[in-house]
């Protein structure tokens, strides 16, 4: 903290904002603000984890009573919650896979090729991200229930399929945007080189393009999975009466009871995603060093 290298100090002074005397106070102020900001971000998450160790006396896990490991010993005690989580995991996995494939190809098309109306297509891709979810949910419900809109005389039964379709829809946009940003600097002459070396388009994609843009695609997949698994608003509209995803189930239950298993399962999801992110950044950093990217 106290050791400031001459160059670092020189840079600060030359930037003209902080003198060496005021530097100390400035640094403390900045650190204080940073700690406050992080607290603000992480307090709710901390509460979730902490209350997974609570032993509430009533039906609602809202007041700290007593520390216990019971909830973690029996995380799957609430069958309704477990069913809902299992459904959410399946939907998110399938939706993210489909959306990742579709969105990746859209992103490649948008970056690689200049075509007529490419600007308009880009606009259409962003549109679902900017539309309020409640509007998307309501209009998807109409789409599924109106018997003539999609298939003649066909009404969709609300449930697994309708949720899946809705999730794929909004995930495609996120995937396309993420992958597009990641492949903007891609050197497309590598594809020329592969074809020059006798690789047809499919082999060129599998052996050269895909391995190089895979980190971007994985990032898009994880984002897509995270968005899908905790989506409430759109899902609430299109899930129907008997199909409950994890968030919808918790919402429904919260009026009657909030068992601490909610916190346990939520903490598990949290630790799971933190682990995936940590692995991702370690592997990514190694790969970048290795390839000199």
């Amino acid at each position: 903290m106290t050791a400031v290298t001459p160059t670092a100090r020189a840079r600060k002074v030359s930037s003209g904002t902080v003198t060496s005397k005021g530097g100390r106070a400035g640094r403390i102020g900045v650190n204080f603000a940073a700690v406050l900001g992080l607290l603000y971000l992480f307090l709710p998450i901390f509460v979730i984890v902490a209350f997974s160790f609570n032993k509430p006396s009533g039906k609602f896990n809202a007041v700290w009573e007593q520390f216990t490991f019971d909830n973690w010993m029996h995380p799957f005690a609430d069958q309704g919650l477990v069913d809902a989580l299992w459904l959410s995991l399946r939907i998110s996995l399938i939706a993210s896979l489909v959306a990742t494939v579709l969105g990746t190809f859209m992103a490649i098309a948008a970056v690689r090729y200049r075509f007529r109306a490419s600007g308009f297509v880009n606009f259409l891709v962003v549109l679902p991200l900017t539309t309020p979810e409640i509007v998307l949910g309501a209009s998807l419900l109409t789409l599924f229930l109106e018997p003539h809109l999609v298939l003649a005389n066909h009404q969709f039964a609300l449930g697994f399929v309708t949720i899946l379709v809705a999730h794929i829809m909004f995930c495609v946009s996120y995937v396309a945007m993420t992958v597009k940003a990641r492949i903007r600097g891609f050197d497309w002459t590598l594809e020329d080189a592969a074809m020059d070396l006798g690789a047809p388009p499919a082999r060129t994609f599998l052996k050269v393009t895909l391995p190089l843009i895979l980190p971007g695609i994985l990032a898009a997949f994880l984002l897509s999975f995270a968005l899908s698994i905790d989506d409430f608003i759109i899902t609430y509209f299109v899930s129907g009466p008997s199909t409950q995803t994890f968030p919808v189930q918790i919402f429904g239950q919260s009026r009657v009871a909030t068992p601490p298993q909610i916190n346990v399962l939520a903490s598990m999801i949290l630790f799971g995603s933190v682990t995936v992110m940590a692995i991702g950044s370690i592997v990514g950093a190694r790969r970048q060093r290795r390839l000199g990217l």
Binding site: T189, L190, D192, A193, M195, D196, L197, G198, L291
Partner: protein, 369 residues
Amino acid sequence: MTDETVIAIEHVTKRFGAFVAVDDADFGIRRGEFFSMLGPSGCGKTTTLRMIAGFEQPSEGAIRLVGEDVSRVPPYKRNVNTVFQQYALFPHLSVSANVAFGLQSKKVPKADIARRVDEMLAVVRLADFGARKPAQLSGGQQQRVALARALVNYPSALLLDEPLGALDLKLRQTMQLELKRIQREVGITFVFVTHDQEEALTMSDRIAVMNEGRVEQIGTPEEIYHQPASEFVAGFIGMANLLPATMENVDGARATAVLPDGTAVSAAAVEGLTRGDPATFMIRPERMQLQVGTSEGISAEVVDLVFQGPLIRFELKTAQGCPIVAHVGPDENLPLLRPGDRVQITWDADGGRLLRRHEQMAASTAVPN
């Protein structure tokens, strides 16, 4: 002779919208030769190369590879390979895997692939680097991997798109000789694109000089340098003094013309130029001699002189104001000259050349390289 041609460019024109990138190119590239396409940027040399590789298709005309019309054949089905300007090595693959890529695409047996990759890495002197990633190599080494990756496929021709452009001067000169050595060793036709005339002169068996989409001249480096076919070629390759002249007399293979100051010059006749036609008299700086106290040759005034070690570079001006550059060696018996002195410029009978006058040509130009 026809079976010797590996690549035939037959009246090929390439348009991008209204822009004509290549205008009726028509020439052949012979088996085993080092052929360069030389010209300023935008002259159509890279477009021609990309058409041979298959990345572009000709708007008109045909490209034949060993006799077969490949104008509409995609790049992955053509037996030519390219060394790209920035090498385009696959960053996620090792050096060996980069070199093996083409053979794997062609489903060559594994044992053969390993043997050929090792052989080719030895040819480019990178035998111990197979396990490295491209990012762990220097620019010159990456360049040689790109060469090996292309050559290992035994292509009918190797296409090189300004491959030395990204290297520094010293490395570039080393690689020029290295390229020439490798070409002799593997005996494969090299088609080399460059804007660097020195590079083309150093390495090529034949050079096609291109300008604004047209092939201006094809010939050996000596022919291109000593017998340029146009003002553009004369000015682009080396240094040339271009003086306006008027055709006077044509007598068989020789012709005479008159410079603006009345000096009569004699050179090889040019087809289609007859008495009274405007022409350009071209003479290289090193073909000139300077003399004092005679009335022979062109009279000029010394504007500046620069000592450059092996030669002295004189900047001169004729009475009409035409700038002339002359290089004078150390053995010339010259009195000490200063700016403002008057000298006579002379040359050997075959030192100069008459050229067709280009319409847009200014009075006279000495074009530095």
